[in-house]
């Protein structure tokens, strides 16, 4: 904007307030009808901010989520397992990109989000601050961590913001491969030696509690849930999704031949659900605040990849600009035709 904008004055016009109220009413009607909000629709500033925060956090989780398993690509026990793991980690990168695109429709820029992540001003899922110590962890992460992600993400396919929902649909389709390859990997190990079976059980013991934490704090301690549900961003509470995950996982564990490290875990006939012990929420908050086993390492690695890639981004841009210059009509000739050619180009 080069002049005092009409928009700036619009704010003081008596009609502007009324128009704003009409927009808000329209927004509310769209949400109530369970219709979707699209990028160019009017939306309350708080809705936009909440979405940017949530979708960026989701995108960051996919990108950081490549690290725990990425370590095992070069150590996979067979070419088959290596190809599968490579495809899975590549998917995580893709999922991050879909989600960054969705945040861009809200006016955020890609660079700004990456820089906020690296500066520690935006979060990612705490689960990725736990290390993948054994090869069985690749299987457990696929089964339990991606399994929990699916439970979280399926309802998000119907979230109120169109681009976020469409990204989730795409992601959920691909996520099922992630879970199945993990479970199949663990089944293979369970058919192996005693030592391999112990590896699987030990891995499950370590990941069970952090997997339960993936749904976020208990409902009483989740101040944003009510507003997010009113806006149709979330459709289920953290505790509802956690319960669903436990109910789904127990029979899978039985089929696999492992147990979860919870003595309180038992079927409750009356409720029609499994009772289970809550994870240690003080550990959850400690990890969120940056004191998990791998927080520092994860961010340092992301920063290094970002910094090391800077010259590639710049070189590609410089190459594109140079190629465009070279391709422009009359770029290196001063023939009388070049002006006409340019005019023709413009007319097209």
């Amino acid at each position: 904007m080069t002049t005092e904008t009409p928009e700036a004055q619009l704010g003081q016009e008596p009609g502007a307030q009324q128009r704003e109220a009409e927009f808000e009413a329209q927004f509310r009607r769209t949400i109530e009808a369970k219709d979707r909000i699209e990028p160019r629709d009017w939306m309350p500033e708080a809705y936009r901010k909440t979405l940017i925060r949530q979708v960026a956090q989701h995108a960051h989780s996919e990108i950081i989520g490549m690290q725990p398993e990425g370590n095992w690509i070069s150590r996979a026990p067979s070419l088959r397992r290596k190809a599968i793991l490579l495809a899975k980690v590549q998917d995580e990168a893709g999922h991050g990109l879909y989600l960054y695109s969705a945040t861009e429709t809200l006016g955020a820029t890609r660079n700004e989000l990456t820089e906020k992540l690296i500066a520690g001003r935006q979060k990612y899922s705490s689960i990725f601050n736990y290390p993948a110590l054994s090869y069985a962890d690749v299987g457990t992460i696929g089964w339990l961590v991606d399994g929990a992600a699916i439970v979280n993400q399926v309802p998000l396919c119907r979230t109120s913001f169109g681009p976020y929902g469409r990204a989730m649909i795409r992601i959920c389709k691909e996520e099922s491969f992630h879970q199945r390859q993990g479970y199949e990997l663990l089944m293979t190990m369970m058919r192996g030696t005693d030592e391999q079976r112990e590896m699987v059980q030990e891995s499950v013991n370590r990941f069970w509690w952090p997997a339960l934490m993936m749904f976020g704090p208990p409902d009483d301690d989740s101040p944003n849930t009510a507003q997010s549900m009113a806006w149709g961003i979330k459709t289920h509470t953290n505790d509802e999704l956690r319960q669903k995950f436990v109910d789904m996982s127990v029979p899978q564990a039985e089929a696999l031949g492992v147990t979860f490290p919870d003595e309180g875990l038992q079927w409750n006939e009356e409720r029609g659900h499994y009772d289970f012990t809550q994870p240690d929420w003080s550990e959850f908050w400690a990890v969120v605040k940056g004191n998990g086993p791998c927080n520092v390492q994860r961010l340092a690695h992301r920063k290094k990849a970002w910094d090391d890639g800077a010259w590639v981004r710049e070189a590609a841009m410089a190459f594109a600009e140079k190629s465009a210059e070279a391709a422009a009509p009359g770029a290196d000739t001063d023939s009388p035709d070049s002006g006409a050619a340019r005019a023709e180009e413009v007319a097209r």
């Binding site: 699209e38 990028p39 160019r40 629709d41 009017w42 495809a87 590549q90 998917d91 893709g94 990109l97 879909y98 695109s101 969705a102 861009e104 429709t105 006016g107 820029t109 890609r110 660079n111 681009p163 469409r166 990204a167 795409r170 691909e174 981004r313 710049e314 590609a316 841009m317 190459f319 594109a320 190629s323 465009a324």
Partner: protein, 105 residues
């Protein structure tokens, strides 16, 4: 997924421009908008689109276009823009009552 050609659609120095990606699922279908991505130029946008949006044979053809090149109708004006078709119910076949015993209609 940027249906908004906003300022991020242009070239911010240091950030590759934004492209919108359209994929034809198979022969005979329309190209459908699937999302967006950043790329330094058109050719790289096609290559990135292949990697980001067609990892599982989702398409037989890809279109990319700079987001800044898209002109979109304004949501504020959607009522006046689409109003002309709103009151023309006679354009739909169901507007016409045809007796049930008339065959093949």
């Amino acid at each position: 997924m940027s249906e908004t050609p906003n300022e991020t659609g242009g070239t911010v120095r240091g950030e590759w421009p934004l492209y919108e990606v359209f994929v034809r699922g198979k022969r005979g279908l329309n190209h459908v908008h699937v999302g967006s991505l950043h790329a330094p130029d058109d050719e790289m946008a096609i290559r990135h689109a292949r990697d980001v949006y067609t990892r599982r044979n989702e398409g037989v053809s890809i279109w990319v276009v700079r987001s800044s090149e898209i002109t979109a109708s304004s949501p504020d004006e959607k009522d006046p823009l689409f109003a002309p078709s709103g009151d023309k119910v006679y354009r739909h076949p169901t507007f016409y009552d045809i007796p049930a015993d008339v065959p093949h209609m």
